[in-house]
């Protein structure tokens, strides 16, 4: 018994160190990016305004990346996150403009109730979309790549049907606060991201659900034999992923005051990049919210620096793709040792 105990402890310790190594490595990368950009563009990069605008822009991407990570933990992937985010924003837009237009006499309370209804609607859409993904993957045994590729196309298609192409505009002012407002001097999107990050981090590390996801991702067959309710856990993880994607859609449409079917198309690649950079194993079983949070900040610092240097968006896409391949290669080397 004692021997087993010490072994467990050593296992815990080594896992803890390797996990912290990854976080440490990320922090070094982030610091390097920060130093590089401060050196290249000292006048523009090191301004309060720059960091403030980053704090408004990065949360939506961070939330999408956490949604992606949840799917990756069980060895899956969610290619429909962008479709869900856009659909949630567009449905809320349709709700505000066509179904329940603003009533000037309603006053502040009425407006807040209207926005709250819109939020519930958008999150509900995300939950339904995630449930559809989860059912197809857990019960229908469809491989996550094809299931979410198909549903993602369905959601994007529905966006096209609802909008006919152009963006939906005319969101209420309170909706804009979700994406543009400040609370205690801090960007509301940032607060939302922090809340989501803490919630998911606690859920993954402190609850049986989180532990189950890691176990399923490490060895799905063993998880079934160990009596885990694999199907239900996978279903729940995709439901959560869909709901988070919808939240990202709310923040995005709030920040830009518009919702469009092809908004944030390059977000998919960036979300995968953030997951991989943040130490999530796309084959399942490993990933931390802290890693995601640092990775998304590193990426945003890099992006804002490139924009100051007037890199075209196309070149930035090239850099994201190359960065993704590079990080994967580095991970492959590290795993080999």
């Amino acid at each position: 018994m004692r021997g087993k105990d010490t072994m467990d402890k050593r296992l815990d310790l080594s896992r803890f160190i390797s996990r912290d190594n990854n976080i440490l490595q990320l922090l070094v990368i982030t610091a390097l990016i920060f130093a590089l950009m401060s050196w290249l563009e000292p006048n523009k990069f090191l301004r309060y305004y720059n960091f403030e605008s980053i704090s408004f822009i990065f949360p939506e991407l961070g939330i999408v990346a956490i949604a992606m990570m949840l799917a990756m933990l069980t060895g899956g992937i969610d290619l429909s996150v962008i479709g869900i985010a856009n659909l949630a924003g567009i449905l809320a837009g349709v709700f505000f403009t066509r179904i329940y237009p603003g009533d000037p006499s309603a006053g502040m309370a009425g407006e807040i109730a209207r926005v709250a209804a819109g939020v519930m609607l958008a999150l509900g859409v995300g939950l339904i979309a995630g449930t559809l993904n989860g059912l197809l993957i857990a019960k229908g045994r469809i491989t996550p790549i094809l299931a979410t590729l198909g549903t993602g196309q369905m959601f994007t298609g529905l966006c096209m049907v609802l909008t006919g192409g152009p963006a939906i505009v005319g969101f209420p002012a309170y909706w804009g606060l979700i994406g543009n407002g400040k609370l205690f001097g801090i960007a509301v999107p940032l607060l939302l991201f922090l809340a989501v990050a803490v919630l998911i981090a606690v859920m993954l590390t402190k609850t049986p659900f989180g532990l189950n996801l890691f176990l399923i991702g490490t060895n799905p067959r063993a998880a079934v034999f160990a009596g885990l309710k694999t199907e239900r856990m996978v279903l729940w993880s995709y439901m959560l992923s869909g709901t988070l994607a919808a939240l990202a859609g709310i923040v995005l449409s709030g920040r830009t005051n518009a919702a469009k079917s092809d908004y944030g198309n390059s977000y998919l690649l960036q979300a995968v990049l953030i997951c991989v950079l943040g130490g999530t194993n796309p084959a399942g079983g490993r990933g931390t919210v802290l890693g995601i949070a640092i990775a998304v900040i590193a990426l945003m610092l890099l992006a804002s620096g490139f924009q100051m240097m007037r890199f075209s968006n196309h070149l930035i896409d090239f850099i994201w793709g190359g960065f993704l391949l590079l990080v994967m290669v580095l991970n492959a080397f590290r795993n080999r040792e």
Partner: protein
């Protein structure tokens, strides 16, 4: 009798029956469907998606997936057309060889990461697509080469057609079918082709029987890239312009068609005949939406449903086979 049973059980038969049923149905709603003009147009619409589907089929049989071929096709097409315009070259054979080679190099780029670093194909191809498309648009250019600047030889090639009973059948259909036969011969009649099936079915066993699995991965992704490059240039010669932003979203249609044709994403299963039928079925469905006057914004929803339904059916089939 036994042969009939196996024939009935094949997924190609099921797809074929569905194709015939849909054609009869559409023909009943609108008899104009059966006019040679319309049928030939339908076949013409198969060509590009079909060649790309052969590319994805090869990768899927090897147990991978490829979302980078649209970017490769765009790069091969745009670079070749620009080179033809700059040099004033008036042939077509050399440009097609060039486009195929560009695609081949891109495909081998995928293979390096997938084989050497054992990275997940989906993530590698997501990255390489972004790299290639970003370089093409960021460094080479974003302007469309219009018909007035397109090399005349390329346009003439894309226009060549056969007169059958007063209607014109694009000769490109035969290029597509010829390629399909070649890929079929390669996959089923050569040792290298068979090794792709073996590798997709079980990589470890394929290695133990003595296949050079590293080479197999390079061949599968290289061939996929080459086919994509060829399809890219052929596309521009058929529509008489070269747009570096072209082919965005093609991966969905093509993957849907390949899955419809019965290929399994887990590798080791799939046939050229099934894929050709799957492509025809997908094009038929999208086309019939137009005939039935359904707004074309619904196309995305329909293609998404097709992917989900087709994969659900193949998953169910594979599970029944395993049971």
């Amino acid at each position: 009798m036994d042969r009939l049973k196996t024939l009935l059980r094949r997924s190609e038969t099921a797809v074929f029956v569905i194709v015939v049923l849909i054609m009869v149905l559409i023909g009943a709603i609108n008899p104009a469907f059966w006019q040679a003009d319309n049928l030939f147009n339908l076949l013409r619409a198969n060509v590009i998606i079909g060649i790309m589907a052969l590319s994805v089929l090869t990768v899927m049989i090897s147990g991978g997936i490829d979302v980078s071929f649209p970017a490769f096709a765009a790069a091969a097409m745009y670079l070749t057309v620009l080179a033809m315009e700059a040099t004033g070259y008036q042939g077509v054979v050399l440009p097609f060889i060039g486009a195929t080679l560009i695609g081949l190099v891109c495909g081998l780029f995928n293979a390096v990461f997938i084989s050497t670093f054992r990275m997940i194909p989906l993530i590698v191809t997501l990255g390489s697509a972004s790299v290639v498309r970003g370089l093409l648009l960021g460094l080479v250019g974003t302007s469309i080469v219009n018909i007035d600047r397109m090399p005349p030889a390329l346009i003439a090639f894309g226009r060549s057609s056969l007169d059958i009973g007063g209607a014109k059948l694009s000769a490109m259909v035969f290029v597509y079918l010829g390629l399909a036969v070649l890929v079929w011969l390669f996959l089923t009649r050569t040792m290298t082709g068979r090794s792709i099936f073996a590798y997709g079915d079980d990589a470890e066993s394929a290695k133990r029987v003595g296949f050079n699995t590293r080479r197999t991965v390079y061949v599968a992704y290289g061939l996929a890239g080459a086919l994509a490059g060829f399809a890219g240039l052929l596309h521009s010669s058929m529509i008489w312009l070269a747009n570096p932003r072209d082919f965005v979203g093609y991966e969905l249609d093509v993957i849907a068609a390949v899955v419809l044709g019965g290929a399994s994403i887990f590798g080791g299963r799939g046939s050229v005949l099934g894929t050709v039928l799957g492509v025809f079925l997908l094009v038929l469905i999208k086309n019939s939406l137009i005939i039935m006057r359904i707004d074309n914004t619904w196309q995305g929803v329909v293609v998404g449903c097709v992917i989900v339904l087709a994969t659900a059916l193949t998953a169910w089939r594979d599970r029944k086979a395993a049971a």
